[in-house]
C-alpha cells in the first residue's frame, strides 16, 4: 500500500485561531478503497476532508495524492472530486449540463463528452430525464446527479460529505448499497465522511473513528466493532456496556459488587489500574437460572423492539443492557415480569478491557461543526 496509496496525510494539522480542530495525524488511504471517516459533529472530520480537497489549507503537515505532494496545488487541479452535503448542483443547468460541467470546462470533444455524460447518468440510473432542472428532481435523484457529476471526470478520489443526511430512512438504506456498488464498478477511492455508524459499517473497507480532532482507531468494520481500542470507539459504534473495573492482577479484572468478570486483557495494565470492561449487549446471555460464571441480577426494564428484546438488568451496582433475539427468548424468560430474578453471563472473548479514561473523553453533544 505504501507505493499505491491514493491519499497520504503526513502530520496534518488544522487550527482556527487558538482552536485546534484537527490534531497532527498520519493517514494512508489505499487505491479503490472505500474509506470512512466517522465521528460526531464537531470532531473535525469535515475539516480533515476539506484539507484533502484543498478548500482548507493545513496549519502544518502535508497532503499527498497518488504519491505527489499537492500542498501548493489548487483544488481545481487536484485529481479528486467532492460530493457536497447540499449537493451544490448548479440550479440554472439541466441534469445533463450539471454532469457535463467538468468536461466542458476541460474542453472535452463533443462526442466524447456526450458518451461520458450518458455513461455517468447510466451508472446512477438517471438516463430518463437529462433535460430536467435540479429543482424538478427529488432529493434522491439530486444526489444521484451530484454523484454522476463527481465521477464523470474519472477522478482518482471522490470525497463524500454526509451525502445521505438529507434522505429519508428507506432511501438511505437503498443508497448505501448503491454507493457501494458504484464504487466497485468505477474503481475509484471513496472517502466517506459521516456521523452515522451504521452507514460506515455497511459500506466501508476501513473506518477511521474521530473524536475531538483526533483519529482514535483506523480498522475494518468488524475489528472496529469487535475490538474497539478505546472507550469512545466502543460507545460510539453500536451500543456497548462499559463496566467500571479494576485490574486485580495482570490478567484479571474485578468489578465492585460482582467480583472477577470474564474479559480478555490486551494492553499491559498495571495491577490496581482503573479500567472499563466493554461487552456488547448481544454477546451477553440471559437465563432464568444460574449457569457457570453468571451474575445474578434483577430485570429493571424490558423493551420489545420487534426483532429483539432489550433487557436492562441490575447486577451488583451495575446496570447492564442485554439483547435477546425475539426467537431465542425462552418461555420461562418471556414470562418473567420486571423485577424478576435473572442471570447474566458472557464469554471471556466478549469482554474487552480498555483504559478507563480516553485522553479524549467522548462528547456526543456540544461543540459546533
Amino acid at each position: 500500500m505504501t507505493q499505491t496509496s491514493a491519499v497520504r496525510l503526513r502530520g496534518i494539522t488544522k487550527s482556527f485561531g487558538s482552536n485546534l480542530v484537527v490534531e497532527p495525524l498520519d493517514l494512508e488511504i489505499g487505491r479503490n478503497e472505500f474509506f470512512s471517516i466517522l465521528g460526531p459533529s464537531g470532531c473535525g472530520k469535515t475539516t480533515l476532508m476539506r484539507m484533502i480537497t484543498g478548500f482548507e489549507t493545513p496549519t502544518a503537515g502535508s497532503v499527498e495524492l497518488d504519491g505527489k505532494t499537492v500542498d501548493r496545488v489548487p483544488t481545481r487541479q487536484r485529481d479528486l472530486n467532492m460530493l457536497f452535503q447540499s449537493y451544490a448542483l448548479f440550479p440554472h443547468l439541466s441534469v445533463y449540463e450539471n454532469v457535463a460541467f467538468e468536461l466542458r470546462v476541460r474542453k472535452t470533444a463533443k462526442a466524447e463528452l456526450d458518451r461520458r455524460v450518458r455513461e455517468a447518468l447510466a451508472l446512477v440510473r438517471l438516463e430518463d430525464f437529462p433535460q430536467r432542472k435540479p429543482s424538478e428532481l427529488s432529493g434522491g435523484q439530486r444526489q444521484r446527479v451530484a454523484l454522476a457529476r463527481a465521477v464523470v471526470g474519472r477522478p482518482a478520489v471522490v470525497l463524500l460529505d454526509e451525502p445521505l443526511g438529507a434522505l429519508d430512512q428507506k432511501l438511505r438504506k437503498e443508497m448505501q448499497f448503491e454507493l457501494k456498488r458504484m464504487q466497485r464498478e468505477v474503481g475509484i477511492t471513496f472517502i466517506y465522511v459521516t456521523h452515522d455508524q451504521e452507514e460506515a459499517l455497511t459500506m466501508s473497507d476501513r473506518i477511521a473513528v474521530m473524536s475531538k480532532g483526533r483519529v482514535l482507531q483506523v480498522a475494518g468494520p468488524t475489528e472496529i466493532y469487535d475490538a474497539p481500542n478505546s472507550r469512545f470507539v466502543a460507545s460510539f459504534i453500536g451500543s456497548c456496556n462499559l463496566i467500571d473495573a479494576v485490574m486485580s492482577s495482570a490478567d484479571t479484572v474485578e468489578v465492585a459488587g460482582l467480583g472477577p468478570v470474564p474479559a480478555t486483557v490486551t494492553g499491559g495494565f498495571a495491577t490496581g489500574t482503573q479500567v472499563v470492561v466493554a461487552v456488547r449487549p448481544e454477546r451477553m446471555t440471559l437465563t432464568d437460572r444460574p449457569t457457570e460464571g453468571s451474575f445474578a441480577g434483577v430485570i429493571s426494564e424490558r423493551v420489545f423492539l420487534g426483532d429483539e428484546w432489550t433487557y436492562h438488568v441490575k447486577t451488583g451496582g451495575t446496570e447492564l443492557t442485554v439483547r435477546v433475539p425475539s426467537g431465542e427468548t425462552s418461555a420461562a424468560l418471556a414470562t418473567l415480569p420486571e423485577g424478576g430474578q435473572v442471570w447474566v453471563s458472557w464469554p471471556t472473548a466478549a469482554g474487552r478491557v480498555l483504559p478507563a479514561d480516553d485522553t479524549t473523553s467522548p462528547s456526543l453533544i456540544g461543540s459546533p461543526a
Binding site: 480537497t53 478548500f55 489548487p74 483544488t75 481545481r76 487541479q77 479528486l80 472530486n81 467532492m82 457536497f84 447540499s86 451544490a88 448548479f90 440550479p91 440554472h92 443547468l93 439541466s94 445533463y96 449540463e97 460541467f101 467538468e102 466542458r104 470546462v105 476541460r106 433535460q131 432542472k133 457529476r149 471526470g153
Partner: protein, 301 residues
C-alpha cells in the same frame, strides 16, 4: 418589486368586501402623488412639445405642429443624442464591471463584515450630487492630490479637469451604488458551495463566473444596467463641471433650449424623445434578458 405587485391582488381577493373601500382610501395619497407629480407634468410637457413657440417672449403659443420634432433631426442635435447614448452606454458598462466585481467581493466576505462594506458603498450616495461632483474637481484638478502625487513621482502631470476621464470617473462614482446593489442582492441568493463545487470540478476564476455566477445573477445585472444607463441619459451637471461643457449631453441641450433659447416647445420635444429612448432601452434590456434565459433553457434541453 414583482413580488409585491403579485401579492397585492391576492390580498385584495382575500379581504372582505367592506374592506375594499378602505383599501382605495389608503391608496389615495399614493395615487394623488403620482398623478400630480408625474402624470400631470408629463402631460404638460407632452402637450408643449407639439405647441408653437413664441419667437419674441419665449414660452408657448398653443397650436399643433410636428416642427419641434422635425428640427431635432438637425445634425447638431443628432450628434448630441448619439454622444449621450454613447456616454450612457460607456458609463453603464464601466459601472457594471466595477459593480459586479465589488458585489462579488462583498457577497463572498464573512456574513458579519458584509454590512460594513455595503455601508462604505452607500455613504457617498448620501452626499449631495453636486458636492460629490465638486469633490472630483478638487481631486483631479490643478493643485489637487492627483497632480501633486504624480509630480512627486516624477511624471509630467497636469490637471485632469476638464477631461473625458474626469467625466467617467465622476459618473462611475455617482452611479456605483445603484450598480452594486441589484447584483449583490442576486449574488447573496447563490449557494456559496456552488463556488467550491465549480472549482472542485476544474473551473478557474473566469469559468466559474461565466458558467455559474453571471448566469445566476443575470436579473441583478439587468437591473444594474438599467439603473445606470437610464439616469445617465438625463445627467447634465457632470459634463459641464468636469468635461468643460464642450460636448453637451441631451440633458444640457434641454436646459439650454429651455433657459437660453427660450424655446420651450423644442425643449419639451427633446424631453419626450429622451423619455422614449429610456423606455426603449428598458424594453431592449428586459427583452435581451428574457432571450438569454430562453436560450440557456434551450441549450440545456
Amino acid at each position: 418589486m414583482s413580488a409585491s405587485t403579485a401579492t397585492a391582488p391576492a390580498r385584495g381577493l382575500r379581504a372582505p368586501a367592506r374592506g375594499t373601500l378602505l383599501g382605495y382610501l389608503l391608496l389615495l395619497p399614493a395615487v394623488a402623488v403620482i398623478v400630480l407629480l408625474v402624470i400631470v407634468p408629463m402631460a404638460v410637457i407632452a402637450r408643449q412639445s407639439f405647441a408653437l413657440s413664441d419667437p419674441l417672449l419665449g414660452g408657448t403659443m398653443g397650436g399643433f405642429t410636428w416642427d419641434n420634432y422635425a428640427k431635432l433631426f438637425d445634425p447638431v442635435y443628432a450628434k448630441t443624442m448619439g454622444y449621450s447614448l454613447g456616454l450612457a452606454a460607456l458609463n453603464a458598462a464601466v459601472c457594471l464591471v466595477v459593480g459586479y466585481l465589488l458585489a462579488f467581493y462583498i457577497s463572498t466576505r464573512p456574513a458579519n463584515r458584509q454590512p460594513v462594506l455595503l455601508m462604505l458603498v452607500i455613504i457617498p450616495f448620501l452626499t449631495d450630487f453636486l458636492v460629490r461632483t465638486f469633490a472630483w474637481i478638487t481631486l483631479l484638478g490643478s493643485g489637487g492630490p492627483y497632480v501633486r502625487i504624480a509630480r512627486a513621482l516624477g511624471f509630467d502631470a497636469s490637471s485632469l479637469v476638464p477631461s473625458q476621464f474626469a467625466v467617467i470617473m465622476s459618473l462611475l462614482y455617482a452611479f456605483l451604488p445603484v450598480a452594486v446593489f441589484p447584483i449583490y442582492a442576486s449574488m447573496r441568493a447563490i449557494d456559496p458551495s456552488l463556488r467550491e463545487a465549480a472549482s472542485d470540478l476544474g473551473a478557474g476564476w473566469w469559468q466559474t463566473h461565466r458558467r455559474i455566477f453571471i448566469p445566476l445573477s443575470a436579473t441583478g445585472i439587468g437591473s444594474s444596467i438599467m439603473l445606470t444607463f437610464v439616469p445617465t441619459l438625463g445627467v447634465f451637471v457632470i459634463p459641464v463641471l468636469l468635461g468643460g461643457g464642450k460636448d453637451p449631453l441631451v440633458g444640457n441641450l434641454i436646459v439650454t433650449l429651455f433657459t437660453e433659447f427660450r424655446n420651450e416647445p423644442m425643449g419639451a420635444a427633446m424631453s419626450m424623445v429622451v423619455l422614449v429612448l429610456m423606455l426603449a432601452s428598458v424594453a431592449v434590456i428586459t427583452g435581451l434578458l428574457r432571450l438569454l434565459s430562453i436560450r440557456s433553457n434551450r441549450r440545456a434541453a
